[in-house]
């Protein structure tokens, strides 16, 4: 239980660092770190497949995309970085306090519920879940991906022409 608590606190710290850190590249790394810690939580909760997806897609693929996009942008000068850092601190100074207050309130509420996690063996096979039980969601996912493609085509195509 204590180990879980440490992991959760680390998760919150990584998330806060992602939002409050001074440069975009650090934010991207912070996000990858958050995903990696979340992966550990998922493993601890008997969800190895979700954990693998989280690690490979969120911590891996998306971080690669972010870092490559950021590397294509114009780097900031030292002064701009300092200004940016100042802006972020003024914008998000309340976040750690908010997290701490939420933590205090939630622990004071002392919410108890009997969480029944499904035993690992009785879970449906992920292939069955994806292809048989959640077919309509898969169709939805495909349409979401297509709309993303349209977004790129509509919003960026003319720029290429120029």
């Amino acid at each position: 239980m204590n180990l879980h608590l440490v992991i959760l606190i680390a998760l919150i710290f990584a998330a806060l660092w992602t939002v409050m850190t001074r440069s975009l590249i650090r934010s991207a790394i912070g996000l990858a770190l958050t995903s990696a810690i979340l992966t550990i939580v998922m493993f601890a909760l008997n969800a190895p497949l979700a954990a693998v997806f989280e690690l490979s897609v969120c911590a891996g693929l998306i971080s690669v995309l972010f870092v490559s996009t950021i590397s294509l942008t114009h780097p900031l000068s030292r002064q701009e970085i300092l200004q940016h850092m100042k802006d972020r601190l003024t914008r998000f100074w309340y976040l750690p306090i908010l997290v701490a207050v939420c933590a205090i309130i939630l622990s004071a509420l002392d919410i108890k519920f009997s969480l029944k996690l499904p035993a690992h063996e009785t879970e449906n096979d992920v292939r069955v879940v994806l292809w048989n039980l959640r077919q309509f969601d898969i169709l939805g996912q495909i349409i979401v991906l297509l709309s993303g493609v349209f977004g790129v085509v509509i919003l960026f195509r003319e720029k290429n022409k120029k």
Binding site: F113, F136, G140, V144
Partner: protein, 479 residues
């Protein structure tokens, strides 16, 4: 065969864009036109085999659990009508054929998303299809690629992402206490469950998420920017149906199919509804840009729908659902009129435009009908739905709410008539107006059709009450 309402727009999207794109893109307009017309047509035949039987060939590949009750039917009808309207206006306003084809593709995506959202009976699938609609909407708002449209799209994106995060957390909590994602199983679990705090928390998160999506006060900050900065056909589409499906329909659905009502949730709905009704109307009065004014008016009208829902009676819910349909029609109509004025004058500031009535008679007449319907003047459609909502409030003993709702309706009439007078009926600058003529065929056709629907729904209401209102009562009666 209901799944074809999602599958056909999806297939059409692929066929129009992938193989032989150069040939098929010319057909984009007609494909969306045909699909929305078929959708409207099918709704008028609820006994048709389409709504019940399974088409064997498709069913071997796609096994979806969908169903359509009265509420879904009304939403499908509204989706068909508003898509058709937006399409007609877009044909007039988007002259580049490539861009028109892309706009049609976005309409198809949004149509598939909204049809899916109103037909599913599974909370996670509902979330997936809301996301489809939302993604298509972001792109649509930014379609013009100017700084204002990007700002509107970005605001919508950020607030919608917050709403999405709340919804997905709420869904996770629902799965935690019910172990299922199907509406009826969650409903059973809620009745039997002892986890009251978890249920309240998940309902609270759902409410905040849907309030953001519906643009209710105080979660409305994205809505006026998005509506006013989007291109005209997109404003029609957003105001007419997108926020109604993603925010209002979903709210009604989770109450009647999942959570049911209790005293507290009823109070929250009534409070949120009345605040939006009043503040939306007051904010609308102060606007100079007519698109922004219509956006605030939308917030106020959505408030009425939530008030109807908050009554938690079959009469109130019937009024709410009817008002969704009526609002889709008259708000689309008013946005079509605003598109007509915008295209002909190039302005959206009401102080700079006047005396268009003689030059644009169709727009003037239809927008007056739309405004009167919005303000709830008999015998137009808006009157009946507002009457049902106010009656439901009165019968439920909520007299203060009923009185405030009536007074706000008077306020609505005041600001809508003042805009009518300013734009169309006072004498304008004849030199400035000399070049202005009636908007083109597409816009005039769309506004005439919508005005006709608004008038016909009002005049033939006694006939409609048996075929629509009674089934609505039955929906609620089950829970």
């Amino acid at each position: 065969m209901m799944h074809t309402l999602v599958l056909f727009p999806f297939f059409a999207l692929i066929i129009l864009n992938l193989p032989l794109r150069v040939i098929f893109r010319r057909l984009s307009f007609w494909v969306v036109f045909a699909l929305s017309l078929i959708q409207i047509f099918l709704v008028f035949f609820p006994q048709n085999a389409f709504w019940g039987t399974h088409f064997n060939f498709l069913n071997t590949f796609f096994r979806f659990n969908l169903s359509a009750d009265g509420l879904s039917m009304v939403m499908l009808l509204s989706i068909g009508i508003v898509t058709l309207t937006a399409l007609l206006v877009a044909r007039q306003m988007i002259t580049d054929s490539d861009r028109m084809a892309l706009f049609c593709s976005l309409l198809l995506i949004a149509m598939a998303g909204m049809n899916g959202a109103v037909l599913v009976r599974d909370i996670f699938s509902l979330y997936v299809f809301l996301e489809i609609t939302a993604v298509a909407s972001y792109i649509m708002i930014a379609f013009d690629k100017n700084i204002f449209s990007f700002e509107g799209a970005f605001k919508y994106l950020v607030l919608s992402a917050v709403a999405t995060a709340m919804m997905i957390t709420a869904i996770a909590l629902v799965i935690l206490f019910s172990g299922s994602t199907e509406f009826y199983l969650i409903n059973y679990a809620i009745r039997a469950s002892a986890h009251t705090s978890l249920i309240v928390l998940s309902l609270g998160l759902f409410l905040c998420g849907f309030f953001i999506k519906a643009g209710l006060i105080p979660f409305h900050s994205w809505l006026p920017d998005a509506y006013s900065s989007a291109p005209a056909p997109v404003s029609i589409f957003l105001a007419g149906i997108v926020t109604k499906t993603t925010g209002v329909y979903t709210l009604i659905r989770i109450f009647i199919s999942i959570f049911g009502f209790n005293g507290q949730s009823q109070r929250i709905l009534l409070l949120a509804g009345i605040i939006s009704v009043v503040i939306g109307a007051i904010a609308a009065i102060t606007q100079k840009d007519f698109k922004r004014m219509l956006a605030y008016s939308s917030i106020s009208q959505v408030g009425y729908i939530i008030l109807g829902l908050g009554c938690a009676s079959s009469l109130g819910i019937a009024g709410a659902i009817l008002h969704i349909f009526n609002h889709s029609v008259f708000k689309s109509l008013l946005f079509v009129n605003s598109a007509a004025v915008e295209t002909q004058t190039g302005k959206t500031n009401m102080d700079e435009i006047s005396g268009l009535g003689e030059k644009m008679p169709v727009t003037a007449v239809t927008s007056t009908l739309g405004a009167l319907s919005c303000a709830g003047i008999p015998p137009l459609a808006g009157f009946w739905s507002k009457l049902l909502i106010i009656l439901a409030l009165w019968v439920g003993g909520l007299h203060v709410y009923a009185v405030v709702a009536i007074l706000s309706s008077v306020l609505t009439l005041a600001y809508l008539l003042s805009i009518q007078r300013k734009l169309f009926f006072i004498k304008g600058n004849s030199e400035e107006n000399s070049q202005i003529k009636e908007a083109g065929f597409g816009i005039s056709l769309a506004s005439t059709l919508l005005a006709f629907i608004s008038l016909a729904t009002g005049v033939f209401f006694p006939f409609i009450i048996n075929s629509f209102i009674v089934p609505f009562g039955k929906i609620f009666g089950r829970f």
